[in-house]
Amino acid sequence: MSSTIQTKFSRRSFLRTSSLASGGMLIGFNFFTACKDTVKMPVDISKLDYNDFNAFIKISKEGMVTLFSPNPEIGQGVKTSMPMIIAEELDVAWENVNVVQGILDTQNYVRQVAGGSQSIRFGWDALRQTGAFARQMLVNAAAAKWGVDASECTAKQGVITNAKGETLGYGDVVDEAAALEAERAAKRKALIESLAEGEQPPAETIELKDPKDYTLIGTDVGNVDIDKIITGKPLFGLDYKAEGMVYASVLRPPAFGQVLESYDDTEAKAMPGVIDVIKIGEKAKAMLEKEQIDWTAKLAPSEKVVVIAENSWAAIKAKKTIKALWSDGSPLESTKAHDKILMDLLDGKDFTNLRKDGDVKKAFKQADKVVERTYESPFLPHNCMEPMNFYANVTDSKIHLVGPVQTPASAASTVANLLGRDEKDIRLEMTRMGGGFGRRLYGDFVYEAAEISDKIRRPVKMFSTREDDMTTGVYRPAIKYRIAASIKDGEITGYHLKEAAVGGNMYGLIPNFFPAGALDNYQVDVAKYDSNITTGAWRAPYTNFLSYAEQSFLDELAEDMGKDPVQMRLDMLEKVKGTTDDRIQYSAERLQDVLKLAVEKSGYRTPKDGVFQGVCAYYCHNTHVAEVADVVMKNNRPVIQKITVAVDCGIVINPLGAKNQIEGGAIDGVGHSMYGDFGFENGMPTANNYDKYRLIRMNETPIVETHFVKNTLSPTGLGEPTLPPAGAAVAIAMKKATGNRMYKQPFATNMASKPILG
């Protein structure tokens, strides 16, 4: 007999059921917020309303299970792993589960953001409870039909069996189950209403499976869209088409700080395929003046010229012929100037303190030695493989928006504000996204598409070329860290990290990540320079660079003190165990365990001849990771051969999908720390396409070997956490291989002049 876990459960708070008019049963549920008491469940499958529920499960009379969810898929596999959790508890064969991307009628649509590796973490309890609840409903219905007690029945793989061995399929009892649940809900409601004030109704419980009995969770399940992807079916925003749709290409200021003065579109307008050339931006500007647009403030100051054409090529070609005059609305900035500004900030005294433990100053004074290093990183564009684009059709009665965006709710409400329309009129459909990496958290391309369609009153697809995408982006801020540590009697006694950033500073819990908590005297201070260049979230915000700086620094300290870098970290973590500091989010035990696992699996203690290994351990985005990089020298150049990754992300829902995320994150981390280089000259980006911006390619890619720490803790996300440690592991291995410490990203550029590589 498999064991179960009794869990308190308040179904009214997050799920509801109904019988579908067309037969079968529908369960609506909500995993981020409570449902309103008044919401009504739809009985028509074409009218699912995601304002009240963020997902629905339909169980048909044939026993097929369909999950409807507008949850955006950006390549993190949530479209596969979330349904797996439901299917596990519902106990239904995976072949009978179908996932449908829902359409969003936006009004009060709550958080459905694919970012921050959060989706799985938030959904875990609600998804399991919903699946278990549905299973219990079906079992109850079958029991009633047989006239036996539900406890005598079991459900497995879509079939309910009673003590006599008789069976019923889920589909055979869906209608009864929905009717029974309606009765039960009515009774419960009456009971609650009859209670005296202050009296509590008896708690409801639900039985969840013991993780050791899982049959689907923990197995390899392929991407649900795989057949469409490998046969080239329309899936992405750029693939979306509608009757009468035209194409729009937007000419934006070539440099940050510039604004449109005037333009000549005579030649463009005369070109075949060109429908019109228009100007947009007045509305965004007006909103900006009212301080209604947040970050787009940076792009909004200028109006833009838009070519409307019958096809993409005509739009691209015509845009090149437009003669625009731009003037400097604000000073044009450059990377050279930023470098000096950031160094001045680090040298100065104007900091905001984010964390302060003990007395760093005193520790520094009493130290035998203080080691101080500065680490530098450039801006980075996101470079989603699918350039930004969106479809909009604005009419007098409705606004229809379709495309890849990670923040549908805020995009829709901004469009409503921008066009002075009611949010109720907006229907937003999300497509599969050709990468996100943080870029699609910002809705500038949605606003542009909407404003264009509002003007021309036609369905339109606004699309960026790669040049548009790379040069009018939202970049990872350029950052410099200065870290100083005091050493006394062979121990680190104080640690002071200063951050200077263009655009924005680290936030939230980041200053509480390791090594915070491990050192009595610890301080984090930040300073920023407000630039007119748009900066924002980029895969694993801040930690993507911070991890490399801190972990390289720790390695250097270990070397300086003649300590083993692994043992030094393990010892530091030992001190964190049992901490009562509730700001500390990471677990010292779990971080130690991943570190030990990575060391063991990579053969770190018995290195092969000619292989130089760098090790690091880092916690971010709720997941504990350790990585070891293997570097070898080939033709006097360092080659990154392999990354061994140890991950503790709790229960691994879909190892096949999880490993894909892990491999991608680690290689992305290697790629950007090696090659990612981006700057500005007179406000203009220094690269605009892949001929000038180097992304890691197949022949430079290390083999990634993944190892999981096995446990039954709640799952955490994997979209981001393996990226930050990679740069650190590489930098440390590189030091061993070349003798040089890496203080500046990207490594490939900044070590080119070093004699070792001559």
Partner: protein
Amino acid sequence: MPTYNLKINGSSQSIEAAEDTPLLWALRDQLDMVGTKFGCGIGQCGACTVHVDGNATRSCQLQISQLDGKEITTIEGLSEDGSHPVQEAWKAIDVPQCGYCQAGQIMTASAFLEKNPNPSREEIRNAMTGNICRCASYNRIENAVAKAAEKKMA
């Protein structure tokens, strides 16, 4: 505007477009075949790869006026039902992350394996280097090409 006759996936298609229209945009906008992807437009990323007379070619760099008499194959025509050995290997290994680059990867890999049915790992890595995968599914791409080669040899 001039009319061109293109032979795509075995059938003849007539299309009216400016002579410098890249095959990529003709496919996507005019012929409703959106499996071939736009990534960079300058021949650097491989997202737009198709076969022209069996050779992997960047469709963003090919003008439709240059394609007279050529046999063009796109991802939609690589097989009828996704059963080309490369597609099957892609599925078995579960290669895609966001999936956007994968049509181009598959087209590069399938043309490569026609010419070199039994490649070494090194040859695979070099052959696939022109195709960017921003999600960095490179390890799996490499494994899938190797697997497809095994299948073809068997």
